[in-house]
Subunit: 405 residues, 2 copies
């Protein structure tokens, strides 16, 4: 069957990378934290203070590096000098020792860079509940600092070092109108022994942007992109999004312009994460439109994206209007569904309370694609919401049930 | 692997069945609604008015028979004479024709029984979005009426006729202290082409109970039993629970006593439904205890039971504390998790923010059972909540992705 053995998905390289932002040096090295020996320490060091803002997991068991980032962004006023990321160990559920280890990572970088430790941010991804092998991490930091460079190859090494079980590196970038660059990298949502999908994303812009403006943009961007990806209905202990602005480009660009560029780059990264959902064969973009409020639109979009019944139907290329519509009907909000129209890849499959006489074979065939569009039109307002989800197939079960600890 | 080819689960027959309640006659016949030719029309007719109460799906796309039941219970004051159930077609998403068909089913039964149509309740399960084959349904009603009987074999035929993809018939019953009988039957949560898990349950008692008291009990019983089963995070268009009391037994029994018996019978039926979750190899009972409020306990229990990551770990016999605890940590309510203790089959696997040094092999082995206990102890109050969930394995994907429409 077409859905069972899809060609491996390989994205195009990004047109603009972190190396194009200027004002930062990058490195990625193998420090032996990953048992595989693959690169696992990534370091970004800015030539001068750069504005930075973050959005982090809301999970109550937030990892030590997440707590550190929150504190350091506050203490530095959002003006940082370096970001260090390790893969292979998430430093989560590691108690006080974990908090000390995260601090020590920041201190090590700060002493090498010659900045305050509050100007260093830390992110970690990998196994949870196991203390960091700190000697290796420290060695990796020293090694990375020695290899910092400005060229595209360094940006690529940085990207490689933040991967865990990712099937492909995730990067996105564009040259915005008004001549500025935005570029980003991400890892996720591959599962990590023993546990969780961690999303780490870092995106930068070469414009000069105040930390407060960046923080405002980060919240909006996260809500519309990364927080609208549903692969597991499960946010991890380590989810981290960092936006930064180097200020090397003195062009005057409107805030709406650079914010939109950050959103496009983040949307592409989020799409790449959803496409790489474990065992996923496609991304489905769930749009709820003409809703009475954004809360209603978001609730319905999330219920559809979360439903295991919907996600198995997407995997099976099954134009299963009953699952789509009844997932919407599970909303506990006050919603008038009487004018609901459901469109699958543009074809109306349900309206006026009943399925239409659509061509099932054609509708199923249209679902064999990298990006399925599923639209719920409530005909009851102007609000909308978009959520991306991956399909749920055998590989998901295999990855999550077989690779036990 | 032990989890992959479990022995087919077959429950013990119930000690007390609907036939033991007295005052009702039962039938189950094959009317040709199911393509398989298996029994598909079930009829229960009471000798005199019986008290009845119902709890129904909250899905906005509630099927025509659900709307009919709500109206008839209201109009009859909860004093009914008959229940007719058909399998093979859910009469859902069938528009005005569907509503007329449900009415005609009630009218047909009423004319045979000689009662008001408001005293007849209707439930349907099966394919959705397809009009009822009304001639067959009508013929089935006539056939069933002619075969009504009081013996256990009739109760068994009734039970057989409400099944869809159930792997085994679901019944439960007990002789309560104070000498009264409670018995029930259920179907679910097997998937039905093209679509949804419908849960239909009917439980009766031989005591005389006022409709209002029964309605109050039904709400509590549903919340604690059927509504605490999470197989798909998806309530169907047709979910129906009916409780009735025949009044043939004049014993004086306290309301708390009969309500507890209804709850035990319903809990057993709910457990049997969870155990029959598609592809399920076990039931997991998620208990959240010592919570500051029932809302918090319920939210956390549901997040754990809904998590695909948790459910695949249960399938793989993986004592994956990280998934259990982080699913709890996803709660958006204000919760203090600092004293959280997680117990898996009685073994503490996580406390004080870190995993314990438990024996993983032994913990995994202890998960090879029909009923896994997963407890989250918040150490922060007296409230608790219990949710049942099934595990998520390959068969779930197979059933839900392959059997396309």
């Amino acid at each position: 069957m077409q859905s069972k053995a899809p060609a491996p998905f390989r994205p195009e390289p990004a047109a603009v990378t972190l190396a194009d932002l200027g004002g930062v040096r990058l490195a990625g090295v193998a420090a032996g934290i990953k048992p595989s020996g693959k690169p696992d320490v990534a370091l970004l060091v800015a030539d001068a203070d750069v504005s930075c803002a973050g959005v982090f997991t809301r999970n109550a068991f937030a990892a030590a590096p997440v707590k550190l980032c929150r504190a350091h962004l506050h203490e530095s006023g959002g003006r940082i000098r370096a970001v260090v990321i390790n893969a292979g160990n998430a430093n989560a559920c590691t108690g006080e020792r974990g908090e000390r280890d995260a601090q020590r990572m920041a201190e090590r970088v700060a002493s090498l860079v010659g900045c305050a430790k509050e100007q260093v941010l830390v992110a970690s991804t990998g196994v949870i509940g196991v203390p960091l092998p700190f000697d290796r991490v420290e060695h990796g930091i020293d090694l990375a600092f020695a290899e910092l460079a400005r060229e595209p190859a360094a940006a690529r090494r940085f990207l490689d070092a933040i991967q865990t079980t990712d099937a492909y590196p995730k990067e996105a970038g564009e040259r915005g109108e008004g001549a500025f660059n935005v570029a980003g990298v991400a890892k996720g949502a591959g599962m990590i022994e023993p546990n969780m999908a961690t999303m780490i994303a870092l995106a930068g812009c070469d414009l000069a942007i105040e930390p407060g403006d960046l923080a405002q943009a980060a919240t909006t961007v996260a809500a519309r992109t990364f927080n609208a990806v549903h692969v597991d209905s499960h946010t991890s202990t380590n989810d981290t999004l960092l936006l930064f602005a180097t200020g090397t480009n003195k062009a005057a660009v409107s805030p709406s312009s650079w914010a939109a560029a950050f959103e496009r780059v983040s949307h592409r990264l989020a799409w790449l994460i959803a496409r790489d959902g474990e065992g996923a064969t496609k991304v489905t973009t769930v749009d709820v439109v003409r809703a009475p409020s954004e809360a209603v639109a978001r609730d319905i979009a999330r219920r559809i994206a979360h439903s295991a019944l919907v996600r198995t139907a997407l995997y099976g290329n099954d134009p299963n209007w009953g699952r789509f519509v009844s997932a919407a009907g599970n909303s506990e909000l006050e919603v008038d569904f009487s004018r609901l129209v459901c469109r699958l890849q543009g074809t109306v499959v349900f309206e006026r309370g009943e399925p239409t006489a659509f061509d099932r074979a054609a509708a199923s065939h249209a679902m064999v694609t990298d990006d399925v569009s599923l639209e719920i039109d409530l005909g009851a307002g102007n609000a909308s919401a978009r959520v991306l989800t991956s399909d749920l197939g055998y590989r998901y079960v295999e990855i999550n049930a077989e690779y036990t600890t």
